[in-house]
């Protein structure tokens, strides 16, 4: 009982701080300086129609590299932690048989969902979307395959090959940016093209496709590791 009162008192204190922050907040009338620079110079410097994509991939591309590293760390640690102390002989789980709707629907739906994921990350510079969303959609299609056939084993070597190759080519493109265009992860190594086309904005479609593949492979390997755990 005393613990609950202390927790409530702590939360009321934090709530007072939040209320002070909210009362003294005034929304801006015009864009601040950083946003003004991004709004004016994106179309001419970077050539992409989606300003958030331009920020994530080129203006603040190093943060994206850090985020991809954190995801890689998380998926490796999950693979490591879940395989320690695994018993060698797996007892066969008695599974409820999967329904007909799922096994047949899975044949039609899984390729379409994968195609949607590829569409989302290839068009990241023109419409809302990008590598992370497309990668999550591809991982959802892998999840559908896992649900339809619970005894399915994914080939871990293929997933780790796709992931490592995408990460390596992504960093290599960044270094190529220093050599050819003047700064790390610059997108002007390829020509900027006509504003609004599919093949435009330099290296942004290439970089986002690599990020999409890498994120999709990481989430799929997380799901594959979690589905191969044993019942306790």
């Amino acid at each position: 009982m005393i613990k609950r009162i202390i927790a409530l008192a702590l939360l009321i204190g934090v709530g007072l701080i939040f209320t002070t922050l909210m009362v003294t907040y005034e929304p801006d009338a015009n864009l601040n300086l950083t946003a003004r620079y991004y709004a004016e110079h994106t179309a001419s410097d970077v050539g992409s129609a989606n300003i958030v994509t331009a920020i994530v991939v080129t203006y603040r591309g190093l943060d994206t590299l850090g985020e991809v590293t954190v995801l890689f760390l998380a998926s490796s640690i999950i693979g490591l932690v879940l395989s320690l102390g695994k018993k060698q002989n797996k007892t066969l789980r008695n599974l409820v048989p999967v329904g007909e709707l799922l096994t047949t629907g899975n044949l039609y739906l899984a390729p379409i969902i994968m195609l949607l994921g590829v569409y989302v990350f290839v068009n990241g510079h023109l419409t809302p979307g990008g590598g992370f969303q497309g990668g999550a959609i591809i991982a959802s299609s892998m999840l559908l395959l896992l649900l339809a056939d619970p005894l399915k084993q994914f080939s871990h070597t293929l997933i780790s090959l796709v992931e490592s190759l995408s990460g390596f080519v992504y960093v290599a493109l960044g270094v190529l940016g220093i050599v050819l265009a003047g700064s790390f992860l610059d997108n002007r190594i390829l020509p900027l093209g006509h504003f609004g086309d599919l093949i435009s904005a330099g290296a942004i479609p290439l970089i986002y496709s690599l990020i999409g593949l890498k994120v999709g492979a990481e989430f799929s390997s997380m799901l594959a590791n979690l589905s191969e755990m044993e019942d306790l």
Partner: protein
């Protein structure tokens, strides 16, 4: 409208922390952390919203020449994009550790893990 969303976000953070502080089951604590994550993201996006303006995408409706007066701040959206992805990575890691702890001890009650107490 920014005030309404900001208040919702702050309340979600408080609810999530209350759940993490008073539940004893490990899985319920992880669910509470997920709710607090969503609250933080709502607060950051609510800061970038400006009244009467639209999304930061240049197309036929918002041509590049008048983007300065028609779009909202794009920087908080880039930050929240990163935060959501890392949040789900941390949640997956917490779940893997909870599974391993359950395998070792046979229970999910946090009061029973006393190896690190003085």
């Amino acid at each position: 409208m920014a005030y309404i969303a900001m208040a919702t976000g702050f309340l979600l953070i408080l609810i999530g922390f209350y759940g993490a502080l008073t539940n004893r089951n490990l899985l319920r604590m992880i669910v509470a952390f997920t709710i607090a994550d969503s609250g933080i993201n709502i607060v950051i996006i609510a800061i970038g919203y400006m009244h009467g303006r639209t999304a930061p995408i240049l197309d036929a409706v918002v041509p590049a020449a008048e983007a300065l007066n028609r779009i909202i701040d794009p920087v908080p959206q880039a930050l929240v994009l990163t935060a959501i992805v890392i949040g789900v990575g941390v949640t997956a890691l917490m779940l893997a550790f909870a599974y391993k702890l359950y395998e070792r001890k046979g229970t999910l009650d946090i009061a029973k893990f006393t190896e690190l107490k003085w």
